[in-house]
């Protein structure tokens, strides 16, 4: 039974169809991540959900009730903004207490005090409660903003890229801390981010937003291993998935891939028809060696750069096509870039995308 239903949502600005026919069903208590590149309409979508912006078309249903007509203050939805949006003329304490002091609630001052201190303690900001926003660090502002959005125990909390404006080190800590904190409040979380690693680390499911709608709604693993299109595949993974035009031909248990004269064989089965398509292969799924292995093709070494904990090799085929391959540090030490180099593709890991629509052909 889904708690939050988004049906055919549409919103345009003049001729720009920012959101068009967007659908999703979100379960109660789920950690639902909305992931999309900048400009994909994430902020607009959050504004539509929170009620600040009106829909052109479609219905938002929460707990079996259509809430399109509800004002923001009437929806049981709260939001933590990317730029914090703290009230500058109020102390952190009053910022956090604000939802509890809204008209429709009758809470005593003592109770408010207790709740504020509870949330502040959970988010480790009790020591800054008496300070004004301008005196707080970005990390503290973020936590204050979160405390404010969680204190009234809303049914749904919208988190708009909360870790974007926070230092890299603190971002990592909070990535681990946040899910634990949110579990305490038992709320349905809609978390928006541009960082695919964050999306994969935090989400029960990820909804990939571009072209105005959700193109994939699935678990992180499924999206990574089975993207619905090349566009989705490119959004997940660093370095980005290699992709190039090729002609494929099925030959018994192999698929022959012809890239402008260069040929490479993949040992795998597929239902895809012979013909032209776009082949995608992730850098970590390319095997690099100094010896010609089964089904390998010779390449020219260009550069190697470390990337996080792996080494990325830039290699070039004889026809000029460049590919990125990534290996672990240990594996890279076994490769001598002064000798000949060969690559082959890991068996089941290649993807075939339609040349025009870019959709996954499998």
């Amino acid at each position: 039974m889904s708690y939050l239903k988004l049906e055919n949502l549409s919103k345009s600005f003049k001729d720009d169809k920012v959101i068009s026919n967007l659908n999703a069903k979100i379960d109660k208590g789920e950690f639902f991540v909305i992931f999309g590149p900048s400009g994909s309409g994430k902020t607009v979508l959050l504004r539509l959900l929170s009620g600040i912006m009106l829909l052109d078309n479609g219905e938002i249903e929460m707990d079996n009730q259509v809430i399109n007509e509800f004002q923001p203050e009437e929806r049981d939805i709260s939001m933590a903004f990317q730029n914090f949006a703290l009230y500058p003329h109020m102390k952190a304490y009053d910022n956090i207490a604000s939802p509890l002091r809204a008209n429709n609630k009758n809470i005593s001052d003592e109770e408010i005090d207790q709740k504020v201190k509870e949330v502040a303690s959970l988010l480790k900001i009790e020591h800054v409660l008496n300070q004004f926003p301008k005196e707080l660090s970005n990390g503290q502002k973020q936590r204050t903003s979160l405390a404010r959005s969680l204190i009234s125990k809303p049914s749904v909390v919208l988190l708009d890229d909360p870790l974007r404006n926070v230092d890299a080190k603190i971002r990592f800590e909070m990535r681990l801390e946040l899910p634990k904190v949110l579990k305490e409040f038992n709320t349905t979380v809609i978390y928006v981010t541009q960082d695919f690693r964050e999306a994969m680390a935090l989400g029960d499911r990820i909804a990939v937003l571009y072209d105005g709608k959700f193109n994939d709604i699935n678990s992180p693993k499924s999206i990574y291993q089975n993207p619905s299109s090349l566009t989705t595949a490119k959004l997940f993974g660093d370095p980005t998935i290699n992709n190039f035009n090729a002609t494929i031909k099925k030959q018994n248990e192999f698929v022959e891939v012809d890239i402008k004269g260069e040929q490479i064989k993949l040992k795998r089965k597929t239902n895809v028809q012979d013909g032209e398509c776009v082949v995608g292969i992730r850098p970590e799924d390319i095997i690099l060696s100094n010896e010609p292995l089964e089904n390998s093709i010779q390449v020219e070494f260009r550069t190697k750069t470390p990337l996080n904990l792996r080494i990325v090799f830039l290699v070039r085929l004889k026809n000029g096509l460049e590919l990125l391959c990534s290996t672990t540090e240990e594996e890279s030490r076994l490769i001598d870039e002064n000798k000949k180099m060969y690559i082959s593709f890991l068996e089941e890991k290649s993807h075939f995308f339609d040349k025009e629509t870019k959709r996954n052909l499998e």
Binding site: S50, M79, F84, P88, A102, N103, F132, K134
Partner: protein, 284 residues
């Protein structure tokens, strides 16, 4: 050595500029404590015997001028009129202008910019252009010589001014702060009253002060559209110039008294003017 010369020259420049601006004011301040004889002396004197005769005369409503008869002065009433007109105008302007400024800042509606510009354009036209027709109309509908009419006409001056200043301040407030307040559970009006207005306080204060000054200093409208009953100090000062004598000391005194309210208001509002705007509530 180089440093010294520049420093001295700088100080001399400061003194010259300050003297240039303050001299007339200082002179008038002095004059208000002098009698006509002393003022009109051929050689101006730096030191003199200060007298409060002018001030007392202004207050009592009559003053004896040396060599002439007693002069009756209605300055007190003028002061009261000025106060009523200025405070009244600014109040009306605030009531209408602040919400309007908010509307212009936040909502993009058809013709919005055109309306805003039209309102501003009222300030471009010289008052003299409209004063005579206005006089005729007001007389016909019985609005001649009423506070209400003058306050209404003053809006032509004060309203555009406040709109354009305050609109900018509202635009500088991130809309997200207002949304956040709504999402906390507060209504639109509460967000406007408790978030938008406090954060735009510096702008509203500055604009109010300027509107007050313009209203207080207005001459033409008050001159033509009202009788001596409702004339403010600007017009009332004319009465000092009689066929028989010009009591300069009294006039100087009147000037000092007229300037005082505005000065006090400015000092009072200063603390609101100094506050910064976003105060670090938004990132960066």
């Amino acid at each position: 050595m180089r440093f010294n010369i520049w420093g001295v020259l700088k100080i001399l420049a400061y003194i010259a500029i300050i003297m240039f601006f303050l001299f007339p004011i200082a002179w008038i301040f002095n004059m208000s404590f002098m009698t006509n004889d002393e003022i009109l002396r051929k050689v101006p004197v730096l030191f003199y015997e200060p007298t409060l005769k002018n001030y007392i005369g202004l207050w009592k409503g009559e003053i004896a001028i040396e060599g002439f008869a007693t002069m009756y002065v209605y300055f007190k009433q003028n002061l009261i009129n000025s106060a009523i007109l200025s405070v009244g105008s600014v109040s009306v302007t605030l009531l209408l202008g602040v919400p309007a400024a908010y509307a212009f800042a936040r909502y993009k509606f058809k013709g919005g910019e055109d309306i805003a510009f039209t309102l501003l354009s009222f300030r471009f036209a010289p008052a003299l252009l409209i004063i005579l027709p206005l006089n005729l109309y007001f007389s016909q509908i019985g609005l001649y010589d009423s506070y209400f009419a003058l306050i209404w006409v003053y809006q032509l001056i004060t309203l555009p001014l406040l709109l354009w200043i305050v609109r900018g301040y509202f635009e500088d407030i991130s809309p997200d702060i207002e949304y956040a307040y709504r999402l906390d559970g507060h209504s639109w009006f509460q967000s406007f009253w408790r978030i938008s207005i406090p954060l735009a306080k510096p702008g509203i204060a500055a604009a109010s002060l300027l509107c007050f000054i313009y209203a207080w200093n207005n001459f033409v409208f008050a001159l033509i559209l009202g009788s001596s009953q409702i004339q403010p100090v600007t017009v009332g000062a004319l009465a000092f110039i009689t066929a028989s004598a010009i009591p300069y000391g009294l006039i100087a005194c009147g000037i000092v008294v007229s300037v005082l309210p505005t000065l006090i208001l400015a000092l009072f509002i200063q603390k609101y003017l100094v506050q910064g705007l976003s105060l670090g509530a938004i990132k960066g």
